[in-house]
């Protein structure tokens, strides 16, 4: 099934969150949600709507052992006992090598050959850019901007993959909630009108969908500003510039 119909996606998202999908349909839609940002957005909005219905559910205390079990599964490795871990690791290593001597040697040899080929000629599998990225030498090609207030205090980190349509705005310094209006992020292209990119959160991180890829929208943009807007849909930035910064190409 091609999930391109907006009404169908909206219906499936609401049914998924409500919980009325059958187990098969539920699994299929969960996979779709993992793959597509637009579907995740619909699901998140329905979770926000329906989540409010849960406030009337009476609270109950679980057994204390529940936290014990959660804690044992989530404590960082540095806080876990070392002796037991080493013992498990040792026997695990032995188990890992056992199959090669018991008829699965061919599989291991094939995997080894593939690995050697990958190491010798990595460009057969992935681009040189991706290799540099994965080896930690380079960050993915992105547009990024760090916006500061008039005193030079960093306030926002804006980022988007070069060929992506998702923009992330992360608050990196305290931002006062405006008494009225909202904070809007603008891109200022060199020879074109300013373009509103979205509302700026005052805490945490927000993600939003851009109307086109960052490459098409931001390739000619060198400056980003945040203004205080009282108009619901401003056509150009107000004169009240709150934060500003450069838009840089990360490649």
């Amino acid at each position: 099934m091609r999930y391109t119909n907006a009404d169908l996606l909206e219906h499936l998202a609401s049914s998924y969150v409500l919980g009325t999908l059958s187990s098969g349909a539920r699994r299929r839609f969960a996979r779709l949600t993992a793959d597509r940002f637009d579907v995740r957005t619909r699901v998140a909005h329905w979770e926000q709507r329906l989540g409010q219905l849960a406030q009337s559910v009476p609270q109950q205390s679980p057994a204390s052992q529940v936290w014990t079990a959660i804690s044992a599964r989530t404590l960082p490795e540095s806080a876990q006992p070392v002796a037991g871990a080493a013992a498990v690791g040792g026997s695990g290593l032995v188990r890992w090598f056992k199959p090669a001597g018991w008829g699965l040697g061919g599989v291991a040899a094939g995997a080894l050959a593939s690995t050697l080929l990958f190491i010798a000629v990595p460009t057969l599998f992935i681009s040189s850019d991706q290799i540099a990225m994965r080896s930690g030498e380079r960050l993915p090609q992105s547009y990024v901007g760090v916006l500061s207030d008039a005193q030079g205090n960093g306030k926002l980190l804006v980022s988007s993959l070069r060929q992506g349509k998702v923009m992330t705005i992360k608050v990196i310094g305290p931002i006062a909630v405006p008494a009225s209006g909202r904070l809007v992020l603008w891109a200022l292209p060199a020879n074109a009108p300013a373009m509103a990119l979205g509302t700026v959160p005052t805490t945490g991180t927000s993600v939003s969908t851009l109307p086109d890829t960052s490459e098409k929208l931001l390739s000619k943009v060198s400056k980003l500003v945040v203004t205080l807007e009282t108009d619901a849909a401003p056509s150009q930035p107000s004169t009240t510039v709150v934060f500003s910064g450069n838009c840089a190409k990360l490649w």
Partner: protein, 242 residues
């Protein structure tokens, strides 16, 4: 049953520790949640969003504080759907492990809409509970939870806690009142609201709601679809969600 032994391999008595004092900050650094341990927990003013953000940085103390602040609410949600204490505790455990692993995924705003931390947490627990419920397979009508009106005296009789629990309709009415949309939702026919309530609060599928209400499956699907559209419209009017 996924409980681990009360004492771990290091000999530490985990049960003796309250959740908020058994955490570890990444690399042994001081956690921003340390202060919460030293002072009265009532002084805790960090938002759930902040605690999730700290958990995303592997701050286990803040994760423990998050658990301390939210476990009763989330456990109530799991019990409500699963109807069994043990199954709900298993789901709660899986949900918090998932929260720990995926804390970095949480976004406080998506496409201009605020996503509250608690609704994100509730969604994780509900999804785990619904998956557990569906994995049990199709339930017979007699096995369906009947929280408030059950008169079954056999093996499927509700527990004392279940018998005292409010009905799904009552919970929906309470929730819509506190959301100030009871008037708007009240214009829906009772069967629409009841089908929506049974699906949400008891985790029933379309066919299970139909069996519970003794109504045709097609009608129930239409009622629920209309109920969801109405809820969305009511929240839009209130300006809760655009």
């Amino acid at each position: 049953m996924r409980y681990l032994p009360k004492t771990n391999a290091g000999g530490r008595d985990l049960d003796a520790e309250r959740p908020h004092i058994s955490g570890f900050a990444k690399n042994g650094q001081r956690s921003p949640c340390d202060v919460l341990i030293l002072r009265d927990m009532k002084l805790d003013t960090r938002s759930l969003e902040d605690l999730i953000a700290s958990a995303a940085q592997s701050d286990h103390k803040c994760f423990a504080t998050l658990y301390d602040r939210t476990n009763r609410h989330l456990f109530g949600v799991a019990v409500r759907i699963l109807g069994q204490q043990q199954a709900a505790e298993d789901v709660l455990q899986e949900a918090y492990v998932s929260i720990w692993k995926n804390a970095g995924v949480y976004r406080s705003e998506i496409d201009g809409q605020t996503i509250q931390a608690m609704t994100w947490l509730i969604a994780i627990v509900r999804n785990k509970a619904l998956d557990a419920l569906r994995s049990r397979g199709r339930r017979k009508e007699s096995e369906l939870p009947d929280w408030a009106d059950g008169d079954d005296t056999g093996d499927n009789a509700p527990s004392a806690a279940q018998s005292l629990a409010p009905s799904a309709m009552h919970l929906l009415e309470q929730a819509t009142q506190s959301m100030h949309i009871e008037g708007c939702m009240g214009t829906l026919e009772g069967s629409y609201r009841q089908s929506l309530a049974l699906a949400y609060y008891q985790g029933l599928s379309h066919s299970e709601v139909a069996a519970q209400m003794g109504a045709p499956l097609g009608s129930v699907k239409a009622w629920i679809r209309r109920g969801l559209a109405k809820l969305k419209g009511c929240l839009d009017t209130r300006g809760v969600m655009a």
